[in-house]
Protein backbone atom coordinates (compact mmCIF):
# COMPACT_ATOMS: atom_id res chain seq x y z
CA UNK A 1 0.00 0.00 0.00
CA UNK A 2 2.81 2.32 0.92
CA UNK A 3 4.51 1.61 -2.37
CA UNK A 4 1.32 2.51 -4.23
CA UNK A 5 0.99 5.76 -2.32
CA UNK A 6 4.61 6.50 -3.10
CA UNK A 7 3.86 6.13 -6.79
CA UNK A 8 0.79 8.35 -6.47
CA UNK A 9 2.88 10.97 -4.72
CA UNK A 10 5.49 10.79 -7.49
CA UNK A 11 2.77 11.23 -10.09
CA UNK A 12 1.37 14.21 -8.26
CA UNK A 13 4.81 15.74 -7.84
CA UNK A 14 5.53 15.44 -11.57
CA UNK A 15 2.15 16.91 -12.37
CA UNK A 16 2.49 19.82 -9.99
CA UNK A 17 6.01 20.58 -11.10
CA UNK A 18 4.56 21.52 -14.44
CA UNK A 19 2.28 24.38 -13.57
CA UNK A 20 0.35 24.24 -16.79
CA UNK A 21 -0.99 20.75 -16.14
CA UNK A 22 -3.64 21.45 -13.51
CA UNK A 23 -4.30 24.98 -14.68
CA UNK A 24 -4.68 23.59 -18.19
CA UNK A 25 -7.49 21.39 -16.98
CA UNK A 26 -9.16 24.29 -15.19
CA UNK A 27 -8.87 26.40 -18.34
CA UNK A 28 -10.28 23.57 -20.44
CA UNK A 29 -13.27 23.34 -18.12
CA UNK A 30 -13.74 27.11 -18.16
CA UNK A 31 -13.51 27.58 -21.89
CA UNK A 32 -15.72 24.63 -22.80
CA UNK A 33 -18.40 25.66 -20.33
CA UNK A 34 -18.13 29.17 -21.70
CA UNK A 35 -18.66 27.94 -25.26
CA UNK A 36 -21.61 25.79 -24.27
CA UNK A 37 -23.12 28.56 -22.20
CA UNK A 38 -22.76 31.17 -24.94
CA UNK A 39 -24.54 28.81 -27.31
CA UNK A 40 -27.37 27.98 -24.91
CA UNK A 41 -27.59 31.45 -23.27
CA UNK A 42 -29.37 29.83 -20.35
CA UNK A 43 -29.36 26.35 -18.96
CA UNK A 44 -32.62 24.78 -17.81
CA UNK A 45 -32.11 21.94 -15.27
CA UNK A 46 -32.31 19.15 -17.85
CA UNK A 47 -29.78 20.71 -20.21
CA UNK A 48 -27.62 21.60 -17.24
CA UNK A 49 -27.17 17.91 -16.44
CA UNK A 50 -26.43 16.99 -20.04
CA UNK A 51 -23.95 19.84 -20.45
CA UNK A 52 -22.27 18.93 -17.21
CA UNK A 53 -21.58 15.36 -18.20
CA UNK A 54 -20.59 16.10 -21.77
CA UNK A 55 -17.97 18.60 -20.60
CA UNK A 56 -16.95 16.23 -17.81
CA UNK A 57 -16.42 13.36 -20.23
CA UNK A 58 -14.23 15.33 -22.59
CA UNK A 59 -12.25 16.93 -19.77
CA UNK A 60 -11.65 13.56 -18.18
CA UNK A 61 -10.57 12.11 -21.51
CA UNK A 62 -8.10 14.92 -21.98
CA UNK A 63 -6.81 14.74 -18.42
CA UNK A 64 -6.37 10.97 -18.34
CA UNK A 65 -4.86 10.81 -21.80
CA UNK A 66 -1.41 11.63 -20.58
CA UNK A 67 -1.49 9.05 -17.78
CA UNK A 68 1.01 6.84 -19.49
CA UNK A 69 2.40 9.41 -21.86
CA UNK A 70 4.50 11.30 -19.38
CA UNK A 71 7.25 8.82 -18.74
CA UNK A 72 9.76 7.48 -21.19
CA UNK A 73 9.91 3.85 -22.27
CA UNK A 74 12.96 3.24 -20.12
CA UNK A 75 11.13 4.48 -17.06
CA UNK A 76 8.42 1.89 -17.59
CA UNK A 77 10.93 -0.86 -17.89
CA UNK A 78 12.37 0.32 -14.61
CA UNK A 79 8.92 0.37 -13.03
CA UNK A 80 8.25 -3.06 -14.39
CA UNK A 81 11.22 -4.49 -12.53
CA UNK A 82 10.32 -2.62 -9.35
CA UNK A 83 6.57 -2.88 -9.07
CA UNK A 84 3.88 -5.44 -9.67
CA UNK A 85 1.70 -4.29 -12.60
CA UNK A 86 -1.28 -4.10 -10.27
CA UNK A 87 0.59 -1.72 -7.99
CA UNK A 88 1.34 0.54 -10.92
CA UNK A 89 -2.26 0.26 -12.09
CA UNK A 90 -3.60 1.07 -8.65
CA UNK A 91 -1.36 4.11 -8.43
CA UNK A 92 -2.46 5.37 -11.83
CA UNK A 93 -6.12 4.75 -11.01
CA UNK A 94 -5.93 6.51 -7.67
CA UNK A 95 -4.17 9.45 -9.25
CA UNK A 96 -6.70 9.62 -12.10
CA UNK A 97 -9.53 9.29 -9.62
CA UNK A 98 -8.28 12.31 -7.71
CA UNK A 99 -7.92 14.18 -10.99
CA UNK A 100 -11.50 13.33 -11.98
CA UNK A 101 -12.86 14.38 -8.60
CA UNK A 102 -10.96 17.64 -9.02
CA UNK A 103 -12.52 18.14 -12.47
CA UNK A 104 -15.94 17.24 -11.11
CA UNK A 105 -15.74 19.85 -8.36
CA UNK A 106 -14.25 22.54 -10.58
CA UNK A 107 -16.86 21.96 -13.26
CA UNK A 108 -19.67 22.02 -10.74
CA UNK A 109 -18.35 25.29 -9.37
CA UNK A 110 -17.97 26.83 -12.84
CA UNK A 111 -21.46 25.83 -13.96
CA UNK A 112 -22.81 26.94 -10.58
CA UNK A 113 -21.37 30.41 -11.13
CA UNK A 114 -22.43 30.59 -14.78
CA UNK A 115 -25.82 28.95 -14.84
CA UNK A 116 -26.92 28.42 -11.26
CA UNK A 117 -27.38 25.12 -9.52
CA UNK A 118 -30.49 23.09 -10.39
CA UNK A 119 -29.37 20.16 -8.22
CA UNK A 120 -31.94 19.61 -5.51
CA UNK A 121 -30.59 16.40 -4.00
CA UNK A 122 -26.94 17.25 -3.44
CA UNK A 123 -26.17 13.93 -1.76
CA UNK A 124 -27.40 11.95 -4.75
CA UNK A 125 -25.45 14.10 -7.16
CA UNK A 126 -22.26 13.73 -5.12
CA UNK A 127 -22.75 9.95 -4.99
CA UNK A 128 -23.29 9.86 -8.75
CA UNK A 129 -20.20 11.95 -9.32
CA UNK A 130 -18.09 9.84 -6.99
CA UNK A 131 -19.21 6.60 -8.61
CA UNK A 132 -18.67 7.90 -12.10
CA UNK A 133 -15.18 9.08 -11.09
CA UNK A 134 -14.40 5.57 -9.81
CA UNK A 135 -15.77 3.85 -12.89
CA UNK A 136 -14.22 6.24 -15.39
CA UNK A 137 -10.82 6.23 -13.72
CA UNK A 138 -10.61 2.43 -14.03
CA UNK A 139 -11.99 2.37 -17.57
CA UNK A 140 -9.90 5.24 -18.89
CA UNK A 141 -6.69 4.01 -17.26
CA UNK A 142 -7.13 0.61 -18.87
CA UNK A 143 -7.96 2.06 -22.28
CA UNK A 144 -5.03 4.51 -22.22
CA UNK A 145 -2.74 1.63 -21.30
CA UNK A 146 -3.94 -0.10 -24.48
CA UNK A 147 -3.84 3.04 -26.61
CA UNK A 148 -0.32 3.98 -25.50
CA UNK A 149 0.96 0.91 -27.32
CA UNK A 150 -0.41 2.12 -30.63
CA UNK A 151 0.80 4.74 -33.06
CA UNK A 152 -1.79 7.45 -32.50
CA UNK A 153 -2.75 7.13 -28.90
CA UNK A 154 -4.69 10.38 -28.46
CA UNK A 155 -7.43 9.74 -30.99
CA UNK A 156 -7.54 6.02 -30.26
CA UNK A 157 -8.19 6.60 -26.58
CA UNK A 158 -11.25 8.61 -27.51
CA UNK A 159 -12.39 6.15 -30.17
CA UNK A 160 -12.07 3.15 -27.88
CA UNK A 161 -13.17 4.72 -24.61
CA UNK A 162 -16.21 6.75 -25.68
CA UNK A 163 -18.45 3.85 -26.77
CA UNK A 164 -17.48 1.89 -23.68
CA UNK A 165 -18.38 4.83 -21.46
CA UNK A 166 -21.93 5.01 -22.74
CA UNK A 167 -23.53 2.39 -20.47
CA UNK A 168 -22.06 4.29 -17.53
CA UNK A 169 -23.10 7.63 -18.97
CA UNK A 170 -26.74 6.62 -19.45
CA UNK A 171 -27.11 5.63 -15.83
CA UNK A 172 -25.24 8.71 -14.69
CA UNK A 173 -27.59 10.92 -16.71
CA UNK A 174 -30.64 9.27 -15.18
CA UNK A 175 -29.28 9.68 -11.68
CA UNK A 176 -28.48 13.32 -12.45
CA UNK A 177 -32.01 13.83 -13.71
CA UNK A 178 -33.23 12.36 -10.44
CA UNK A 179 -31.00 14.58 -8.34
CA UNK A 180 -32.17 17.68 -10.18
CA UNK A 181 -35.78 16.57 -10.00
CA UNK A 182 -36.38 16.62 -13.75
CA UNK A 183 -37.69 13.08 -13.94
CA UNK A 184 -40.87 11.60 -12.50
CA UNK A 185 -38.79 8.61 -11.45
CA UNK A 186 -38.98 8.34 -7.68
CA UNK A 187 -36.94 5.19 -7.21
CA UNK A 188 -33.32 5.82 -8.14
CA UNK A 189 -32.03 2.72 -6.30
CA UNK A 190 -32.46 0.56 -9.39
CA UNK A 191 -30.30 2.93 -11.40
CA UNK A 192 -27.75 3.07 -8.63
CA UNK A 193 -27.66 -0.73 -8.44
CA UNK A 194 -27.18 -1.00 -12.20
CA UNK A 195 -24.50 1.69 -12.17
CA UNK A 196 -22.60 0.03 -9.36
CA UNK A 197 -22.83 -3.38 -11.01
CA UNK A 198 -21.48 -1.99 -14.30
CA UNK A 199 -18.70 -0.24 -12.39
CA UNK A 200 -17.80 -3.40 -10.52
CA UNK A 201 -17.71 -5.23 -13.86
CA UNK A 202 -15.33 -2.59 -15.17
CA UNK A 203 -13.18 -2.80 -12.04
CA UNK A 204 -13.01 -6.57 -12.06
CA UNK A 205 -12.22 -6.78 -15.75
CA UNK A 206 -9.57 -4.09 -15.68
CA UNK A 207 -7.86 -5.60 -12.62
CA UNK A 208 -7.80 -8.92 -14.43
CA UNK A 209 -6.67 -7.61 -17.79
CA UNK A 210 -4.20 -4.87 -16.92
CA UNK A 211 -1.30 -7.11 -15.80
CA UNK A 212 -1.77 -9.07 -19.00
CA UNK A 213 -1.89 -6.02 -21.27
CA UNK A 214 0.99 -4.34 -19.48
CA UNK A 215 3.45 -7.16 -20.11
CA UNK A 216 5.34 -6.27 -23.25
Amino acid sequence: MNRILNLVATEARIELRERYALSGIVLYVLSSSFIVFSIWKQLPPKEWGLTFWVIFLFCSLMAVLKTFGRESEGRYFYYYTLYHPLELFAAKVIYNFLLLVFIFLVLWFVLFVMAGNPILRIGWFLTTGLMSCIGLSFLLTLITSIAIKTQQNASLTAVMALPLMIPLLINILRLTAYSSGTTPDENPWNELMLLSSIISLVIGLSLWLFPYLWRS
Binding site: K149, Q152, L156, V159, P163, P167, L194, S206, Y212
Partner: protein
Protein backbone atom coordinates in the same frame (compact mmCIF):
# COMPACT_ATOMS: atom_id res chain seq x y z
CA UNK B 1 -16.04 -27.73 -35.83
CA UNK B 2 -12.79 -26.64 -37.41
CA UNK B 3 -12.34 -29.74 -39.49
CA UNK B 4 -10.34 -29.12 -42.65
CA UNK B 5 -11.74 -30.46 -45.88
CA UNK B 6 -8.89 -32.10 -47.71
CA UNK B 7 -10.40 -32.43 -51.17
CA UNK B 8 -11.30 -29.78 -53.68
CA UNK B 9 -14.66 -31.24 -54.55
CA UNK B 10 -17.43 -28.86 -53.52
CA UNK B 11 -19.66 -31.78 -52.64
CA UNK B 12 -17.40 -32.96 -49.86
CA UNK B 13 -18.69 -30.34 -47.44
CA UNK B 14 -19.36 -31.08 -43.81
CA UNK B 15 -22.94 -32.02 -43.03
CA UNK B 16 -23.64 -28.86 -41.04
CA UNK B 17 -22.70 -26.72 -44.02
CA UNK B 18 -25.19 -28.60 -46.16
CA UNK B 19 -27.70 -28.13 -43.37
CA UNK B 20 -27.01 -24.39 -43.32
CA UNK B 21 -27.54 -24.11 -47.06
CA UNK B 22 -30.73 -26.17 -47.11
CA UNK B 23 -32.16 -24.35 -44.12
CA UNK B 24 -31.40 -20.94 -45.62
CA UNK B 25 -32.88 -21.89 -48.99
CA UNK B 26 -35.99 -23.03 -47.15
CA UNK B 27 -36.06 -19.81 -45.11
CA UNK B 28 -35.70 -17.60 -48.16
CA UNK B 29 -38.36 -19.44 -50.14
CA UNK B 30 -40.83 -19.79 -47.29
CA UNK B 31 -40.09 -16.32 -46.00
CA UNK B 32 -40.79 -14.63 -49.31
CA UNK B 33 -43.50 -16.78 -50.84
CA UNK B 34 -45.96 -17.80 -48.13
CA UNK B 35 -48.85 -15.32 -48.29
CA UNK B 36 -50.38 -13.37 -45.45
CA UNK B 37 -53.77 -14.05 -43.94
CA UNK B 38 -56.52 -11.62 -44.97
CA UNK B 39 -56.52 -8.31 -43.22
CA UNK B 40 -58.21 -4.93 -43.29
CA UNK B 41 -56.20 -2.00 -44.57
CA UNK B 42 -58.61 0.87 -44.40
CA UNK B 43 -62.08 1.78 -43.24
CA UNK B 44 -63.91 4.90 -44.45
CA UNK B 45 -65.34 6.87 -42.78
CA UNK B 46 -63.19 6.37 -39.71
CA UNK B 47 -65.30 8.56 -37.45
CA UNK B 48 -69.03 8.94 -36.83
CA UNK B 49 -71.62 10.20 -34.38
CA UNK B 50 -73.54 7.79 -32.19
CA UNK B 51 -77.23 7.19 -32.70
CA UNK B 52 -77.05 7.07 -36.49
CA UNK B 53 -76.99 4.50 -39.21
CA UNK B 54 -73.60 4.30 -40.86
CA UNK B 55 -72.21 2.52 -43.90
CA UNK B 56 -68.51 1.83 -43.82
CA UNK B 57 -66.43 0.97 -46.86
CA UNK B 58 -63.79 -1.60 -46.05
CA UNK B 59 -60.64 -2.21 -48.09
CA UNK B 60 -59.23 -5.65 -47.47
CA UNK B 61 -55.82 -7.12 -47.97
CA UNK B 62 -55.34 -10.62 -49.40
CA UNK B 63 -59.08 -11.01 -48.95
CA UNK B 64 -61.51 -12.85 -51.24
CA UNK B 65 -64.87 -11.37 -50.29
CA UNK B 66 -66.62 -12.60 -53.45
CA UNK B 67 -65.90 -16.30 -52.95
CA UNK B 68 -68.72 -16.95 -50.52
CA UNK B 69 -70.69 -13.79 -49.95
CA UNK B 70 -73.38 -15.38 -47.81
CA UNK B 71 -70.90 -16.23 -45.09
CA UNK B 72 -69.72 -12.68 -44.51
CA UNK B 73 -70.37 -11.39 -41.02
CA UNK B 74 -69.15 -8.27 -39.31
CA UNK B 75 -69.04 -6.76 -35.85
CA UNK B 76 -67.94 -3.57 -34.20
CA UNK B 77 -66.41 -4.31 -30.83
CA UNK B 78 -66.32 -1.71 -28.08
CA UNK B 79 -64.23 -3.58 -25.53
CA UNK B 80 -64.05 -7.13 -24.24
CA UNK B 81 -67.19 -8.89 -25.45
CA UNK B 82 -69.44 -5.85 -26.00
CA UNK B 83 -70.30 -5.77 -29.69
CA UNK B 84 -72.85 -4.70 -32.27
CA UNK B 85 -73.43 -6.80 -35.35
CA UNK B 86 -73.65 -5.49 -38.90
CA UNK B 87 -77.13 -5.29 -40.41
CA UNK B 88 -76.03 -5.94 -43.90
CA UNK B 89 -72.77 -6.60 -45.70
CA UNK B 90 -72.35 -6.10 -49.41
CA UNK B 91 -69.18 -7.33 -51.14
CA UNK B 92 -68.30 -5.30 -54.24
CA UNK B 93 -65.24 -7.24 -55.25
CA UNK B 94 -62.53 -9.32 -53.60
CA UNK B 95 -60.95 -6.31 -51.89
CA UNK B 96 -63.91 -4.02 -51.22
CA UNK B 97 -67.07 -4.35 -49.24
CA UNK B 98 -69.58 -2.15 -47.48
CA UNK B 99 -71.05 -2.91 -44.10
CA UNK B 100 -73.92 -1.05 -42.48
CA UNK B 101 -74.17 -0.62 -38.74
CA UNK B 102 -76.56 1.16 -36.47
CA UNK B 103 -74.51 2.81 -33.72
CA UNK B 104 -76.61 2.94 -30.52
CA UNK B 105 -76.88 6.37 -28.96
CA UNK B 106 -75.95 5.07 -25.51
CA UNK B 107 -72.81 3.21 -24.53
CA UNK B 108 -72.25 0.84 -21.59
CA UNK B 109 -69.29 2.98 -20.52
CA UNK B 110 -68.91 6.75 -20.53
CA UNK B 111 -65.98 8.20 -22.47
CA UNK B 112 -65.03 11.24 -24.53
CA UNK B 113 -64.85 9.14 -27.68
CA UNK B 114 -65.37 5.46 -28.35
CA UNK B 115 -62.82 3.59 -30.45
CA UNK B 116 -64.48 0.60 -32.09
CA UNK B 117 -62.70 -2.43 -33.47
CA UNK B 118 -63.93 -3.88 -36.72
CA UNK B 119 -64.09 -7.68 -36.90
CA UNK B 120 -64.94 -9.46 -40.14
CA UNK B 121 -65.58 -13.17 -40.41
CA UNK B 122 -65.66 -14.81 -43.78
CA UNK B 123 -66.24 -18.53 -44.08
CA UNK B 124 -63.20 -20.27 -45.49
CA UNK B 125 -61.13 -17.08 -45.63
CA UNK B 126 -60.96 -16.62 -41.88
CA UNK B 127 -61.23 -13.60 -39.63
CA UNK B 128 -59.69 -10.18 -40.06
CA UNK B 129 -59.53 -7.46 -37.46
CA UNK B 130 -58.77 -3.75 -37.56
CA UNK B 131 -58.29 -2.28 -34.07
CA UNK B 132 -59.62 1.24 -33.47
CA UNK B 133 -61.19 1.28 -36.93
CA UNK B 134 -63.90 3.83 -36.17
CA UNK B 135 -64.08 6.57 -33.55
CA UNK B 136 -67.54 7.40 -32.33
CA UNK B 137 -68.39 10.71 -30.70
CA UNK B 138 -71.31 10.57 -28.23
CA UNK B 139 -74.78 11.53 -29.41
CA UNK B 140 -76.40 14.72 -28.19
CA UNK B 141 -79.67 12.95 -27.36
CA UNK B 142 -79.26 9.63 -25.63
CA UNK B 143 -81.97 7.01 -25.69
CA UNK B 144 -81.40 4.54 -22.86
CA UNK B 145 -83.70 2.03 -24.55
CA UNK B 146 -81.02 1.49 -27.19
CA UNK B 147 -78.74 -0.07 -24.58
CA UNK B 148 -80.18 -3.45 -25.52
CA UNK B 149 -78.69 -3.15 -28.98
CA UNK B 150 -75.31 -3.98 -27.48
CA UNK B 151 -74.64 -7.69 -27.53
CA UNK B 152 -72.57 -9.81 -25.26
CA UNK B 153 -70.55 -11.82 -27.74
CA UNK B 154 -66.98 -12.98 -27.44
CA UNK B 155 -66.91 -13.63 -31.21
CA UNK B 156 -65.45 -17.08 -30.76
CA UNK B 157 -67.55 -18.84 -33.38
CA UNK B 158 -65.41 -17.52 -36.23
CA UNK B 159 -63.56 -19.39 -38.93
CA UNK B 160 -59.84 -20.02 -39.08
CA UNK B 161 -58.32 -19.94 -42.49
CA UNK B 162 -56.79 -23.31 -43.27
CA UNK B 163 -53.32 -23.68 -44.73
CA UNK B 164 -49.91 -22.16 -44.11
CA UNK B 165 -50.12 -18.39 -43.91
CA UNK B 166 -48.51 -15.68 -41.85
CA UNK B 167 -50.70 -13.51 -39.66
CA UNK B 168 -51.72 -10.12 -40.95
CA UNK B 169 -50.80 -7.49 -38.37
CA UNK B 170 -51.76 -3.88 -38.78
CA UNK B 171 -48.82 -1.54 -39.39
CA UNK B 172 -46.54 -4.56 -39.89
CA UNK B 173 -48.41 -6.04 -42.88
CA UNK B 174 -45.92 -7.62 -45.30
CA UNK B 175 -42.92 -6.44 -43.32
CA UNK B 176 -43.67 -9.20 -40.82
CA UNK B 177 -41.42 -11.34 -43.01
CA UNK B 178 -38.47 -9.29 -41.83
CA UNK B 179 -38.66 -11.27 -38.58
CA UNK B 180 -36.85 -14.08 -40.40
CA UNK B 181 -33.95 -11.87 -41.44
CA UNK B 182 -33.57 -9.00 -39.00
CA UNK B 183 -33.76 -10.94 -35.74
CA UNK B 184 -31.45 -13.87 -36.70
CA UNK B 185 -28.80 -11.35 -37.86
CA UNK B 186 -28.47 -10.01 -34.33
CA UNK B 187 -28.54 -13.47 -32.77
CA UNK B 188 -25.79 -14.44 -35.16
CA UNK B 189 -23.75 -11.33 -34.35
CA UNK B 190 -23.93 -12.01 -30.61
CA UNK B 191 -22.93 -15.65 -31.13
CA UNK B 192 -19.99 -14.68 -33.35
CA UNK B 193 -18.77 -12.04 -30.90
CA UNK B 194 -19.12 -14.59 -28.13
CA UNK B 195 -17.05 -17.14 -30.03
CA UNK B 196 -14.50 -14.43 -30.73
CA UNK B 197 -14.30 -13.52 -27.04
CA UNK B 198 -13.83 -17.21 -26.26
CA UNK B 199 -10.90 -17.42 -28.68
CA UNK B 200 -9.48 -14.28 -27.07
CA UNK B 201 -9.65 -16.10 -23.76
CA UNK B 202 -7.79 -18.98 -25.37
CA UNK B 203 -5.15 -16.57 -26.58
CA UNK B 204 -4.92 -15.12 -23.08
CA UNK B 205 -4.26 -18.61 -21.70
CA UNK B 206 -1.63 -19.73 -24.20
CA UNK B 207 -0.30 -17.08 -26.52
CA UNK B 208 -0.83 -18.91 -29.79
CA UNK B 209 -1.18 -16.43 -32.67
CA UNK B 210 -3.67 -18.78 -34.32
CA UNK B 211 -6.29 -17.99 -31.67
CA UNK B 212 -5.85 -14.32 -32.43
CA UNK B 213 -6.51 -14.95 -36.13
CA UNK B 214 -9.64 -16.89 -35.25
CA UNK B 215 -10.99 -14.28 -32.88
CA UNK B 216 -10.42 -11.50 -35.42
CA UNK B 217 -12.12 -13.48 -38.20
CA UNK B 218 -15.18 -13.90 -35.99
CA UNK B 219 -15.21 -10.19 -35.14
CA UNK B 220 -15.05 -9.23 -38.83
CA UNK B 221 -17.96 -11.45 -39.78
CA UNK B 222 -19.86 -10.44 -36.64
CA UNK B 223 -19.51 -6.81 -37.67
CA UNK B 224 -20.92 -7.61 -41.12
CA UNK B 225 -23.89 -9.40 -39.57
CA UNK B 226 -24.38 -6.51 -37.16
CA UNK B 227 -24.41 -4.07 -40.07
CA UNK B 228 -26.92 -6.23 -41.94
CA UNK B 229 -29.05 -6.41 -38.81
CA UNK B 230 -28.92 -2.66 -38.57
CA UNK B 231 -29.80 -2.11 -42.24
CA UNK B 232 -32.73 -4.54 -42.13
CA UNK B 233 -33.84 -2.95 -38.88
CA UNK B 234 -33.67 0.53 -40.39
CA UNK B 235 -35.71 -0.51 -43.42
CA UNK B 236 -38.24 -2.08 -41.08
CA UNK B 237 -38.28 1.05 -38.94
CA UNK B 238 -38.92 3.21 -42.00
CA UNK B 239 -42.01 1.14 -42.76
CA UNK B 240 -43.39 0.82 -39.26
CA UNK B 241 -42.00 3.72 -37.18
CA UNK B 242 -41.85 6.04 -40.21
CA UNK B 243 -38.16 6.91 -39.89
CA UNK B 244 -34.96 5.06 -40.61
CA UNK B 245 -33.49 6.27 -37.38
CA UNK B 246 -35.66 7.47 -34.54
CA UNK B 247 -33.02 7.52 -31.76
CA UNK B 248 -34.67 4.60 -30.09
CA UNK B 249 -32.63 3.20 -27.24
CA UNK B 250 -32.27 -0.17 -28.92
CA UNK B 251 -31.00 1.44 -32.12
CA UNK B 252 -28.52 3.54 -30.20
CA UNK B 253 -27.21 0.68 -28.13
CA UNK B 254 -26.69 -1.56 -31.13
CA UNK B 255 -24.94 1.24 -33.02
CA UNK B 256 -22.66 1.72 -30.04
CA UNK B 257 -21.85 -1.97 -29.85
CA UNK B 258 -20.83 -1.84 -33.51
CA UNK B 259 -18.72 1.25 -32.77
CA UNK B 260 -16.90 -0.62 -30.02
CA UNK B 261 -15.87 -3.39 -32.37
CA UNK B 262 -15.05 -0.96 -35.17
CA UNK B 263 -12.75 0.79 -32.68
CA UNK B 264 -11.10 -2.57 -32.05
CA UNK B 265 -10.39 -2.99 -35.74
CA UNK B 266 -8.98 0.56 -35.95
CA UNK B 267 -6.81 -0.16 -32.91
CA UNK B 268 -5.46 -3.33 -34.53
CA UNK B 269 -4.48 -1.51 -37.68
CA UNK B 270 -2.38 0.99 -35.76
CA UNK B 271 -0.18 -1.50 -33.92
CA UNK B 272 2.94 -2.72 -35.70
CA UNK B 273 4.07 -5.63 -33.62
CA UNK B 274 2.04 -8.81 -34.17
CA UNK B 275 2.29 -10.16 -30.64
CA UNK B 276 1.48 -6.78 -29.20
CA UNK B 277 -1.49 -6.51 -31.56
CA UNK B 278 -2.77 -9.93 -30.56
CA UNK B 279 -2.44 -9.23 -26.86
CA UNK B 280 -4.20 -5.86 -27.04
CA UNK B 281 -6.95 -7.36 -29.18
CA UNK B 282 -7.53 -10.19 -26.75
CA UNK B 283 -7.70 -7.84 -23.78
CA UNK B 284 -9.97 -5.28 -25.39
CA UNK B 285 -12.17 -7.94 -26.95
CA UNK B 286 -12.94 -9.63 -23.64
CA UNK B 287 -13.48 -6.26 -21.98
CA UNK B 288 -15.84 -5.16 -24.74
CA UNK B 289 -17.83 -8.38 -24.83
CA UNK B 290 -18.56 -8.29 -21.12
CA UNK B 291 -19.65 -4.64 -21.34
CA UNK B 292 -21.84 -5.52 -24.32
CA UNK B 293 -24.19 -7.47 -22.07
CA UNK B 294 -25.56 -4.54 -20.05
CA UNK B 295 -25.49 -2.45 -23.21
CA UNK B 296 -27.69 -4.74 -25.29
CA UNK B 297 -29.73 -6.66 -22.77
CA UNK B 298 -30.18 -4.63 -19.60
CA UNK B 299 -30.28 -0.91 -20.42
CA UNK B 300 -32.83 -1.15 -23.29
CA UNK B 301 -35.17 -3.06 -20.99
CA UNK B 302 -35.14 -0.25 -18.47
CA UNK B 303 -36.07 2.47 -20.95
CA UNK B 304 -39.18 3.19 -22.97
CA UNK B 305 -38.62 1.88 -26.45
CA UNK B 306 -40.51 1.25 -29.64
CA UNK B 307 -38.64 -1.98 -30.16
CA UNK B 308 -40.32 -5.23 -29.08
CA UNK B 309 -38.92 -6.84 -25.97
CA UNK B 310 -38.01 -3.58 -24.27
CA UNK B 311 -39.55 -1.16 -21.83
CA UNK B 312 -43.31 -1.04 -22.36
CA UNK B 313 -43.33 -3.65 -25.13
CA UNK B 314 -43.65 -7.40 -24.99
CA UNK B 315 -41.03 -9.57 -26.66
CA UNK B 316 -41.74 -11.85 -29.58
CA UNK B 317 -44.82 -13.89 -28.94
CA UNK B 318 -48.55 -13.92 -29.12
CA UNK B 319 -49.95 -13.07 -32.50
CA UNK B 320 -46.70 -11.53 -33.73
CA UNK B 321 -45.07 -14.91 -33.87
CA UNK B 322 -47.62 -17.66 -34.37
CA UNK B 323 -46.85 -21.30 -34.98
CA UNK B 324 -46.61 -20.87 -38.75
CA UNK B 325 -43.98 -18.22 -38.30
CA UNK B 326 -42.09 -20.27 -35.73
CA UNK B 327 -41.70 -22.96 -38.37
CA UNK B 328 -39.62 -20.51 -40.39
CA UNK B 329 -38.20 -18.35 -37.63
CA UNK B 330 -36.34 -21.01 -35.65
CA UNK B 331 -34.75 -22.55 -38.77
CA UNK B 332 -33.78 -19.02 -39.83
CA UNK B 333 -31.97 -18.44 -36.53
CA UNK B 334 -30.12 -21.76 -36.81
CA UNK B 335 -29.38 -21.25 -40.51
CA UNK B 336 -27.95 -17.75 -40.15
CA UNK B 337 -25.83 -18.75 -37.16
CA UNK B 338 -24.40 -21.70 -39.10
CA UNK B 339 -23.77 -19.43 -42.08
CA UNK B 340 -21.96 -16.95 -39.83
CA UNK B 341 -19.75 -19.66 -38.39
CA UNK B 342 -19.02 -20.95 -41.87
CA UNK B 343 -18.06 -17.55 -43.29
CA UNK B 344 -15.91 -16.84 -40.22
CA UNK B 345 -14.04 -20.06 -40.82
CA UNK B 346 -13.41 -19.09 -44.43
CA UNK B 347 -12.20 -15.64 -43.37
CA UNK B 348 -9.92 -17.24 -40.80
CA UNK B 349 -8.44 -19.58 -43.42
CA UNK B 350 -7.83 -16.82 -45.98
CA UNK B 351 -6.23 -14.67 -43.27
CA UNK B 352 -4.02 -17.57 -42.32
CA UNK B 353 -2.99 -18.13 -45.94
CA UNK B 354 -2.26 -14.42 -46.39
CA UNK B 355 -0.20 -14.47 -43.22
CA UNK B 356 1.83 -17.44 -44.43
CA UNK B 357 2.71 -15.85 -47.77
Amino acid sequence: MMQESTTNSPFRLAAWKWAAMIILIFVFIAGWIVPLKPGIIKVTPDRAVAGEMMVVDVIGYNSFYLTDTTKLRGWLRLSGDTVIQAHHIQAWDDRNLSASFYIPSVFPVRQEAYPLTLVLDHGAEGTSILPNAIFITPASVQDTAEMKLWFRDKIEHVHEKAGVQYPFRNILAETIRNTYFHVPMWFCMIILFGVSAWYSLQYYRNADIDFDRKSVAFIKVGLVFGLLGMVTGMLWAKNTWNAYWSWDVKQNMSAISLLIYAALMVMRSSVEDDMQKARLTAGYNMFAFVLLIPLLFIIPRMTDSLHPGNGGNPALGGEDLDNTMRMVFYPAVVGFILLGLWISQLVYRTDKLKGNL
